[in-house]
């Protein structure tokens, strides 16, 4: 089967064989967390080398903790840089959150206070990381369930960081949907206010509603129709084509269901980008 043009998927060990065969799933690229694949050997290193030779590899980091008050971890960054270069990685993205604080890793994404001093602090850190890695990074707008000591709006916080750090944006459309629902704002208005010319990468995923007023970003369910619609809206607003990732980390369905989601996303991309650009 022919590979997708725009839409990739997160690499899962469970499907390593299928990815290598390239029959049941046809992603345009695969995404991995560098932390899970650097400094390893043995069976999975061999598999990863084959995968990296066969697919473009994009990365989505977990442990940079760009929003932490702690110092940057330069040893970690050296390993990331080596990994990115070793596998000719095209995109390195990370979360606009913090996962380490007071010298303890937490392995999940905590919300950063939307504050001006945090904007300055994080922008400086992103610049340092970009200088060190000799590439721009794409920061992801994360889903969050509570604000923390906010003094500015979320969109102002994000836009200010992207501008000041001169970095790229990873637009997780599901996260915008989740945040708009959880914090009662209009997702389309939010997207229109973002620096869309900086969007380098899009993530799409499913979620779970756990209370009448709360959705958790689980990556464990299929993408719902309103999120597809929001993606279509976003795709038409973007000034350029960007890669799109289907995220599915839990409650993994049959491969044909994942391929259905890949195809549905690909169709939206084709309609929004290939057709429009051919007219331009």
């Amino acid at each position: 089967m022919e590979r997708n043009k725009h839409v990739g998927i997160g690499f899962r060990k469970d499907f390593a064989e299928e990815f290598l065969e390239g029959k049941d799933l046809t992603p345009a690229f695969l995404e991995v967390a560098p932390e899970n694949w650097m400094e390893i050997g043995g069976y999975w290193k061999k598999v990863f080398n084959k995968i990296a030779a066969q697919y473009p590899i994009y990365t989505h980091g977990l442990s940079l903790s760009i929003g932490t008050p702690d110092e940057l971890d330069w040893d970690f960054l050296k390993k990331v840089k080596y990994f990115l270069n070793e596998h000719n990685v095209q995109i390195y993205s990370e979360h606009l959150s913090y996962s380490k604080c007071d010298n303890a890793h937490l392995y999940d994404l905590l919300p950063i206070p939307f504050r001006w001093d945090a904007v300055k602090h994080i922008s400086q850190r992103i610049k340092s990381v970009q200088d060190f890695l000799e590439r721009k990074i794409a920061i992801e707008i994360v889903s969050y369930y509570t604000p923390v000591a906010a003094e500015m709006s979320e969109v102002e916080f994000i836009s200010s960081i992207v501008k000041e750090a001169d970095c790229n944006l990873l637009l997780d459309v599901n996260n915008i949907y989740v945040n708009a629902f959880n914090h009662n704002y209009d997702s389309k208005e939010f997207i229109e206010k973002l620096p869309l010319d900086k969007v380098e990468y899009i993530h799409m995923a499913g979620h779970e509603q756990v209370a009448p007023d709360l959705i958790i970003d689980t990556h464990g369910e299929p993408i719902i129709d309103p999120v597809y619609e929001l993606f279509e809206f976003t795709a038409h607003k973007l000034p350029k084509t960007v890669p799109v990732l289907l995220e599915r980390d839990f409650n993994i369905p049959e491969l044909n269901e994942l391929q259905y989601e890949l195809n549905r996303l690909e169709n939206i991309c084709t309609k929004a980008w290939d057709y429009e650009h051919s007219l331009a």
């Binding site: 043995g42 999975w44 913090y98 303890a104 937490l106 945090a118 923390v148 958790i216």
Partner: protein, 252 residues
């Protein structure tokens, strides 16, 4: 240190992180209080899943209450340093080893069990180590034996590698050695129970790069056995290691 972040912002972030680790009620401005518990729940879930995956025997041994108790103590009291989450279980093992937990009195072999389970993960995942250049055939006594460099020998007080942990008692206390190594082709981890002599021998063979005959002379002195008897005893063991692909052959 950073020059931009104010103490106030830092404090709010620290309080949230601290709450997630300890569960102590957070005093954070602007918080949606009935939602913040999801962060602690999610973090606890990630840590728990990772530890269950790394320590299936330990998790099966402990009651649910005991398991959650020790996981919670770890999350609350230990500052994890691993940037790669698959390495985090080594810190859990270290925490149990260094902390006076009551559960270690009930499960006297708990440290050994965690050590054994973690080492299996570690060997499976460790970066590749170059094998020595070797040939398949050679003389056991006269040539230098090449060994698989991707291995570790553990010294244990309880036979967690030999018995179901639920059946291990104080009567089992002793001196046990276990070789864990990664097969080159499959990447699978295998383990073998060793005597103290074979444990000593493997390390000598790897470190000293010397023909076996010289090592046997030293062994005869160390263990007080004559060389011929030692060789007769050692040869089947070496053949077994070769059949198990721990010994690829002889140095070229």
């Amino acid at each position: 240190m950073n020059t931009h972040l104010h103490n106030y912002t830092h404090t709010q972030q620290s309080r949230l992180a601290d709450y997630c680790r300890t569960g102590d009620p957070p005093k954070i401005d602007g918080l949606t209080e009935n939602r913040v518990h999801h962060y602690r729940r999610l973090i606890h879930g990630v840590i728990d899943d990772t530890l269950q995956s790394a320590f299936p025997l330990t998790c099966d041994l402990l009651s649910q209450e005991e398991w959650y108790g020790v996981v919670d103590a770890f999350l609350s009291n230990y500052k994890c340093q691993s940037t790669s989450i698959w390495k985090m279980p080594s810190e859990f093992y270290r925490f149990v080893e260094e902390t006076g937990l009551e559960i270690k009195e009930k499960y006297i072999f708990l440290e050994d069990l965690l050590n054994f389970e973690w080492t299996e993960v570690e060997i499976y995942m460790m970066p590749d180590i170059a094998y020595p250049e070797s040939k398949t055939d050679g003389g056991w006594l006269s040539e230098v034996i090449a060994v698989n460099p991707e291995y570790k020998i553990l010294q244990l007080n309880y036979p967690v590698h030999l018995k179901n942990p639920k059946g291990i008692t104080e009567n089992d206390r002793g001196e046990y050695y276990v070789l864990l190594f990664r097969e080159k082709e499959s990447g699978k981890v295998r383990f073998m129970n060793l005597s103290v002599y074979f444990s000593w021998l493997i390390e000598k063979v790897e470190i000293e790069n010397t023909p076996l005959i010289k090592i046997l002379k030293e062994a005869a002195q160390v263990f007080g056995v004559n060389e011929k008897a030692l060789f007769e005893n050692t040869l089947p063991f070496l053949e077994e290691l070769k059949a198990n692909k721990f010994i690829p052959g002889f140095y070229i």
